[in-house]
Symmetry: C2
Subunit: 111 residues, 2 copies
DNA sequence: ATTGTATATTGCAATATTACGATTAACAAA
DNA sequence: TTTGTTAATCGTAATATTGCAATATACAAT
């Protein structure tokens, strides 16, 4: 096999897993942190900043874009990337909701 | 290639990515949600609840355990699993910190 | 000792991810 | 038009993940 059985899970579970997967690589975390810091940048900046090949950075940018968490505007010969603030907040709330489904008794002990 | 270059990233970036990877599968999300709800359970419960093979659930449990987010106590012939509340809170704060590194001007527009 | 229950591990096939060189495409400037 | 810059895409190799049947391990009960 080797193919996730999405059908047996809820929409919420699949969505959270999808967004977590976007954050599941340090390069994508680094890209997002840099974008938050500088507000906007082009692919070449990230190649410099992070130290991976241009093709690799471009691939990570595509994944971030396909998840909707960043946007890219064509600006002459370069592409200007920035965070999609609305999606960012949605994802933030998604994780926040997940971590705050505290059970009545938050016991630490098994059995 | 095909191997993440962890050395060029910060500890924080690697750690966040590692924790995100744990949440990057709906089965593991489902296991954690179930554990939070019922406080503790055994592997067989999850096989029933989720609908994946026993070997597959066991594998996901091992990943969750190796990340430290759950604990397993041997209880006779079965193993009782529960959330590690301390690690859970650490991970919660890790994500919270990541999503709250708001830049001064949270502009939505590129260039 | 044998049987049953519960879980971990092994081995394997299918698929996905990561990384990068090489190439392509789009545009700007000379 | 030619040259340079920027970024996307293609192709490929190395590695990782997912899922499960089969097997192994551990213990409880008969």
């Amino acid at each position: 096999m080797g193919l996730t059985k999405s059908a047996i899970f809820t929409e919420e579970q699949n969505h959270l897993a999808r967004m977590a997967k976007v954050l599941a690589h340090p390069a994508r975390v680094a890209i997002l942190q840099y974008l938050v810091k500088v507000n906007q940048c082009i692919c070449g900046d990230l190649v410099h900043e992070i130290g991976l090949a241009q093709a690799t950075i471009s691939q990570h940018l595509r994944e971030l874009k396909s998840a909707g968490i960043i946007k890219g505007n064509i600006e002459g010969t370069s592409v200007c990337y920035c965070i999609d603030a609305e999606v960012w907040q949605d994802v933030q709330q998604l994780f926040d909701g997940f971590f705050n489904i505290n059970s009545t008794s938050q016991s630490d002990d098994c059995c």
